[in-house]
Symmetry: D2
Subunit: 416 residues, 4 copies
């Protein structure tokens, strides 16, 4: 990966922020800058690779000793209990390198599964699945998306779970399930209620915990996402008469849709936080390069086109960052954050895309070569624009929220 | 202008803001919504028109009684002493209607001239020029731009002031001088020092107060800006042996460039605050229309393209607003705000342009007709992209500030 | 207007084009370059102004002697009979200055009315209205748009014409009617058939010729388009029991919608041809300026940002131009041109807007001042995006045409 | 790959085109549609894979029998001798599938090497290297780019060739050399002249044919472009005292830069032709999907946002296509095509990028999965924006060409 000398991330205390969060930021910057960025080549190495395992364990230990483990989880469950705003400030540092995520106990989809288990799990489920997951002793996946159903319409899911005595019997096909090849269990979205059931269309799904060694749980293939099938693969899975005990049901029957919305809402905000950190990193790589690279008649930094890249990226990052922090504040305040979540879900990955695009352009051929993290960021940014609801769906949601306010006789209040 | 029923501006208290500012916002909203927006047709009437004069005086009285007069000035000089951040929060309400500016004692270029007089004026100058200007008994203009000099390069100004005994003798040509036809005095940027003078290129200009009835001060023409020459015109002016007493000099000899930078820096931020309010208003006009206008097979609000306009405008406004407030916070904190000023100087008018553009499109032909304030906003937004330094210059400034940090061995810290 | 020296328009013969068209181009360039552009200030002067009238007559005489009058009309009616493709090549020269339009007998809305009269008029109507209109002895307007009807939905028009003996009696309100204040007659779109009439929704309208001195034809106001009400104004009109003889009916009863579609279809293509010429002119003004204007440390032409303006404008013009010519070829070939008309209706005014926007930026303040034609172009470009069907409507039409092909089992063939 | 039923490519004869070219188009469409698109999965299979080899041979035979082999080469060298314009019309069909390239004898970098050998090769070189290359019995690569030299500045190349008796001795490092792992020989760009040599900076390079089994020619690694290292890899290479006989020198000493410019100029146009075909394919995949895929409350084709995707892609394709054909016409006419080559080099890959981006969005997750060709197109489009001179360099070149014309006293003539 990139040369260590390129990235000296040092952050100053932010005015108006608590001492606690400022310290978290600085401690995080120290670890990311010293232990992670210079070793990205190792940390992105093949899974099971000796040096990678060893380094990951060392950094994880340091993170835990520094009290920075699992920032998204309540303290009772081994996390930092930071809240969304605190996490926004911490994560923009942490996400300078996506290799940090695993070292800080914050890697999707495990992190989302943890939050769902915290909120919906029984004591027994927490003991059996949550605790080892938080400790990093288990892996998990979230099995929702299906081939014949628009991803933005989770109510149309077809995988069925039918009760048979003390068991749920699951049949169906899922795809785009990331981490499935490494997972010990899959939280699986199943249709458990018949059409016309009480509670209507939002109460027909139930999430069920399925250990991946259950007979009938089959990984059909690693899907070639952007041509890749290695590592934490994205898989296509079938469930053929998969039987799990009733106690593997997560929350009430019919609560699956609500639980998924909780998870996806938070997940969108986390993704945006990641984007902000990654943008900042891409910006750093770009500017550093411009101060060093000679082109026709001078350093890149003397060329207006490339100065324009700095300026436009500065604005993109500042806008994305302030909107993400603002959204996190709205969530923490208890107000309805849905319009702002949709707004950042659209704005931030697009801004991320633009920033990385410019950085790639500055590096030329090297920009599309995995010697640098830029090409990975680029694919990631593109993917985010269609994952968890494409841009188009979230733009409609923003409009509908605004229109609802107008139909109630009020204009929109941007101050709140 | 637009129908009163279209605009009921009501704002809720903002979390985390002081009670004082929240009250200012709500009082301002009350006045703008009740007295200004429904009467815009009158307030934009021909100058000297009876109903306009009468209404303006009434609203001004109310504003003064409500303690909302001249929010940008220190209390010692008859203002509110709000600071930049407070002003950002107040002005986004106030600027729903540009007709408010005069009613709140906040109309350019008078407001900028007031601030310069506060900082650089002698006691005598303040008594003679500042006080009547603040009370609204005088008008003024700021004479800087010249035909043969790039507007973004104020150090190249050619209008000369030569000392002759107790007088400055001024010769030169200025253009794009707004409000000159109504002004009682012009703060005039003059070259007073010869090349190679002490202090260098940034110390060759001096600002001099020129009463507009001084012999040799000639308004050559009202310039047809966007085809218009009426009202508060933008003028071309010549100075032919204009003689003013030495005591009309503003600040030290050679301080003119610094004073202009002060003024322009603040002015850029004020313009952005105006843009935020205007965007919000355009958004309101657009959304309201969509809930009422029937097109092919349904109300406009049911069409995805137009829902997209709401969503994209929501993001533009939120980004512009948060960046403007953030910049105001940086100024108030005493940190160097120049990068952020340049960033909003570029971002905000462009966002304003996009928001108004969409609102126009929703109104069809009416969008380009002065029955609504939209076409005026559109021209204003366009003009802002080249006034006070075009986008291109500010993008370069952002880049240079970032690069300077890198050359000092640090990366950019977006948190500060 | 702009300095003559700025614009020396000289064109070379185009490979593969007929000698006739190449000669038309070169003769047109000669006239535009020699007689029109250097005198734009006069030609854009107040109507009835002596020098303007005199010059216009002189140039018109020259145009007629050169065989270049009324290029859009068949030779039988005093025109050149060029066809769309020939006109595309001629008009991109002619439209360097919009002041040419009147001198070449090609000014809207007269030109559109002429074409409608050619196709739908009786011999008597042609004698009475068309011939004097072509000779430039009459003026006309086209009264279609109404306040309460979406402009893009002409079938919803409410102005009624009811037969009473030998007369049509017209009642209704029209607005955005350009040239109405100068017109001798108005071709008026009226609802003549009741709902459910034979032929359905596309056969309920009839166009009727209304002399503007008919009692009950009232110009309510000149609408302040972009703040302007002077010259060839855009008017709001009422019809109050306006009675005209039956022989003023244009074409069959119920043919009004079809006639309007003919006119608007052609009109959209003409507007695009104008845009191409105007873009080329704006490009010329911009590049010329860059070779002369000094900014920080050098001529504008040495700055990458501004070089980028040249490059991007080059691509915009080339794309707009080739698409417009291609569309004209499709029309002349007799193939269905509707998809391509909608495509240029969207693409070309937007490209025009971008090109003018850049030219304005290069000129700074002068860009928004009517000393140059740029600000007028800018408003014109913006208006075109919502006139004759807004962008959104034409984008839907393109899609529907493509989808129709797919539903017939074929893929789209871009070659045809 | 994609389902065969998705792609029935049938083209009609194009008006005004020769019968020959129309037949070429239709024959090409027949082969691509029948033999290539339905079998893409096989044709993109692992190299050396049995079914792939077999199918490729069969299709190649058919192509040769149909007289469609090597369309870019003169007939004397086994090609079709189509000229640029003919190739533009043929290739937009052919490039519906990039798997066609090899089947039609048109795969880079072999095709470029062939053209260079045709123009610069001796009879002996043609016999030894060109003929087997055209017959498909050899593979080749072009070794130009170096790590420490801006790709857009080929005159700065450092790899040296020093004459030693009857041999050239080559030392240096190259990277981003595609197909190097499969190549039998590498045409290598070497610095052979010392600074200050006759002819100046454009005459210091010589191209030399280096058989890849020459001692000292080392493939250091397959570079992980977009994370991939398999197939026709992009390699980093070192030359350590590589000795080849003098007769491997291609053309005159010092002609290397000119030969590279020839090749790169043509190559840019070929890339654009490929983009046009690929865009058309992406468009087809997108529209077809929209007619079949159900989303919230209806087929995708009924949603305005997605209709907008069709319309915007239609305009992008039409503009890109017409500009590419226009550029080919200019080349064939013998006029200087450099401005137009730069224009399409910038415009077309960007348009390609936008079209593919929309198609991906319509497919959701499947859009980034290699089950469809879209993700490959997306990476390809992005790469093209920085390969063979980044957008920024070509935008400057366009501007310089335009400015040169103005400095010679002429305005730009878009007609020529």
């Amino acid at each position: 990966m990139s040369n260590a000398s390129l990235n000296v991330l040092k952050v100053e205390p932010i005015r108006g922020l608590s001492d606690k969060i400022n310290k978290v930021r600085q401690d995080t910057a120290e670890i990311v800058s010293t232990y992670i960025i210079p070793e990205e080549k190792i940390l992105y190495g093949a899974e099971g690779d000796g040096p990678r395992v060893k380094l990951q364990m060392e950094v994880t230990d340091l993170v835990k000793r520094s009290g920075l483990w699992a920032p998204h989880l309540p303290e009772d469950y081994g996390g930092m209990g930071l809240g969304f705003m605190g996490l926004a400030y911490m994560n923009e540092i942490l996400a300078w390198s996506m290799a940090s995520k695993r070292c800080f106990g914050l890697s999707a989809p495990n992190s989302g599964n943890q939050s769902v288990l915290v909120k919906y799990g029984t004591e027994e489920q927490k003991k059996k699945w949550l605790e080892p997951l938080v400790r990093g002793e288990m892996e998990s996946c979230f099995a929702m998306t299906e081939p014949d159903v628009a991803g933005s319409n989770p109510r149309a899911i077809r995988t069925s779970a039918v009760r048979d005595g003390d068991e749920w019997v699951i049949n169906g096909r899922k795809w785009f399930i990331s981490n499935a090849n490494r997972a010990d269990f899959a939280i699986t979205m199943c249709r458990t209620e018949v059409d016309g059931a009480e509670g209507g269309v939002n109460h027909m799904m139930t999430q069920i915990i399925v250990p991946t060694d259950t007979p009938g749980f089959n990984i059909e293939r690693a899907m070639p996402i952007w041509g890749h099938t290695a590592g934490e693969a994205t898989c296509e899975i079938t469930f053929s008469d998969v039987r799990v005990p009733l106690e593997n049901q997560l929350g009430q029957r019919g609560s699956g849709h609500a639980a998924a919305q909780d998870r996806l809402g938070a997940g969108r905000v986390y993704h945006c936080m990641d984007c902000v950190g990654q943008m900042w990193r891409a910006f750093d790589l770009m500017v550093k390069r411009m101060t060093e690279r000679e082109v026709h008649g001078g350093l890149q930094e003397t060329k207006q086109f490339l100065q324009g890249f700095i300026a436009d990226s500065y604005m993109d990052i500042q806008a994305a960052r302030l909107m993400t922090i603002h959204c996190a504040e709205v969530i923490d305040s208890g107000n309805n954050p849905r319009t702002d979540i949709s707004a950042i879900k659209v704005f931030v990955p697009n801004a991320f895309h633009r920033v990385v695009d410019r950085a790639m352009q500055v590096y030329g051929g090297l920009g599309v070569c995995s010697d640098l993290p830029l090409e990975g960021m680029y694919k990631h940014a593109r993917t985010l624009r269609l994952a968890d609801g494409p841009d188009e769906v979230h733009r409609i949601l923003i409009a509908k929220n605004v229109l609802k306010r107008y139909h109630s006789g009020q204009c929109w209040d941007f101050g709140v």
